[in-house]
Homo-oligomer: 362 residues x 2
Amino acid sequence: MKEEEIIPAKDLSKFVNNVFLAMNCSPKDAELSTNVLLSADLRGIDSHGVARLSGYVRLWEAKRINTKPAIKTIYETPSTGVIDGDQGLGLVVAPHAMRLAIDKANKCGTGWVAVKNSNHFGIAGYHAMLALEHDMIGMAMTNASPLVAPTFSTERLLGTNPICVAIPADSQPAFVADFATTTAANGKLEILQRKSKQAPIGWIQDKEGASSTNPHELKDGGALIPLGSDREHGSHKGFCLGAWVDIFSAVLSGANYGPWVPPFVSFLAPPADPVGEGIGHFVGAMRVDAFRPVSEFKQHMDQWINRFRSAKTVAGESSVIIPGDPERESEAVRLKEGIPINEKVVDDLKILAEKFSITFPK
Amino acid sequence: MKEEEIIPAKDLSKFVNNVFLAMNCSPKDAELSTNVLLSADLRGIDSHGVARLSGYVRLWEAKRINTKPAIKTIYETPSTGVIDGDQGLGLVVAPHAMRLAIDKANKCGTGWVAVKNSNHFGIAGYHAMLALEHDMIGMAMTNASPLVAPTFSTERLLGTNPICVAIPADSQPAFVADFATTTAANGKLEILQRKSKQAPIGWIQDKEGASSTNPHELKDGGALIPLGSDREHGSHKGFCLGAWVDIFSAVLSGANYGPWVPPFVSFLAPPADPVGEGIGHFVGAMRVDAFRPVSEFKQHMDQWINRFRSAKTVAGESSVIIPGDPERESEAVRLKEGIPINEKVVDDLKILAEKFSITFPK
């Protein structure tokens, strides 16, 4: 049996768009959601692309996602805003928030928008990178279902809470750091599960908080571990990062935080005692020329990138990897050669095709 | 021989203030610098307090620190500013920048200030926490002398580049996350050196990039490692964090970045081909009520903190540590019982006392 199927990006995109249309998204929202989801598959972040599509559908069927949201700005100042996502797809709500942040940055230098009552927003990178074409620095973060135990905790109280910072350069491609604030993202566990492999020490703990290498440990009360792996190697700093994302995304906006964040899966009910609405995001845009002339900044970014890329390396490695390089290279290859989709994900997508009477790409 | 001497905070403060006065600081700047430096010693971050005082003096003697700086705002928009620190003490320049950020936040919701031509600013926490009394969230970061090798690099291209995020709560103390973006801060190596102990695997690499446990390795071309320790445990994420701090602090402001950051020690000359001026900081302030009512926000912060503090713990640990707790507890004890100063640091301070004919506290 093949492990994966290669599907041309264009065909996959058309299929995904049809699924969002079948979920009653407006044509514009379907197109946007498709772009966000496909950008994950193209950039090689397979866990956040079409692999999530059936999850969105099930939450929509469970009436936990509203595909006709009335997204509202409920509060604002010249440089800030708060958005109520009306239970919409995060894939639609987050770009909306980012547009507001960019608009505010245009007017007063920077814009910062907290979002409540949203859902999973795909990859943080898509949203942060929206700022780049405006010669702005973009930031995006989101909280997520609790899968992570803070240092010394046996309870899962945080999501993998990613942060993205996207910074424009000149002749060099943009610096795009997009990472979960855990040692390993959940998608990496899924890969190990499919391949029946063990995880390295330092990624997972069992329900008592002891180190574990079993990638299925989370089903038995285990947890992912904050970046740093253990106290001696700075896991308290990874906890700081995840907590920061949680507070900016949810306590500032009025969303659920910590263990109250509703799960992304339809078979788990949201907590009965919510402390806010939906999940939360936090996005920002800073105009480069609110600090120094764009051309000057970009030339120095090129120099920064060139210097780091040409650093002397440890034996066996050809260069230091600039944040954003691997994703951009993946995108170039996959746009040309097609996107490899895991067979289990293909099966999932075929079920959706049947459910909605949509043709699945051959 | 005693390993340390306990000195009452008040006496130490008076001594430090006299040293700054002897360096020709204005009485106001001497008082501020003393407060910033002492706050590190009080909060238990011994590596950033009076242990650095002789370093500041030597850089001043080498004319690399200007104690009568004309600090200038060289560019601004409603929510941003850029400050030229005129080679001043970072201890003075950073609070100045933070006041500008707070002022801007008062007017338009948030304020973000990049700083060039500055020097070592002490602990990031002092500056970020200035926002708290205004019911604002404070942020502070700085780049620093290159001691850290990015993932796969054998060259030291980044400083330990700390970040602080300070968030006010209600009846709970503020959430204050203040951390170097490396697995271990340089101060932890200094402790191991003094005690002739080995470092854990994952903190340091040798000049070829191989793992090392020798806390003196940096003297022989070795490097500190970004948070995460190795690629498999996410050191590329720690590199992203350190790079982010470097770019915000220096590429936005026009300071030196990466390997061009001037060393904090007077016996090493700054690079002959600077790409900017001095070292850089980046500080920010966000008015809580630019997002939601302060009382509502603070009540949720209390709930967040209480929930995390009361999490079930692994055997042997009494509770999850909320960021800022250990430093606040240290401060309470040391204010009352005095500050333990390492004997080598005491010797250093006595040399300063003699140099400037100042009485050293008995």
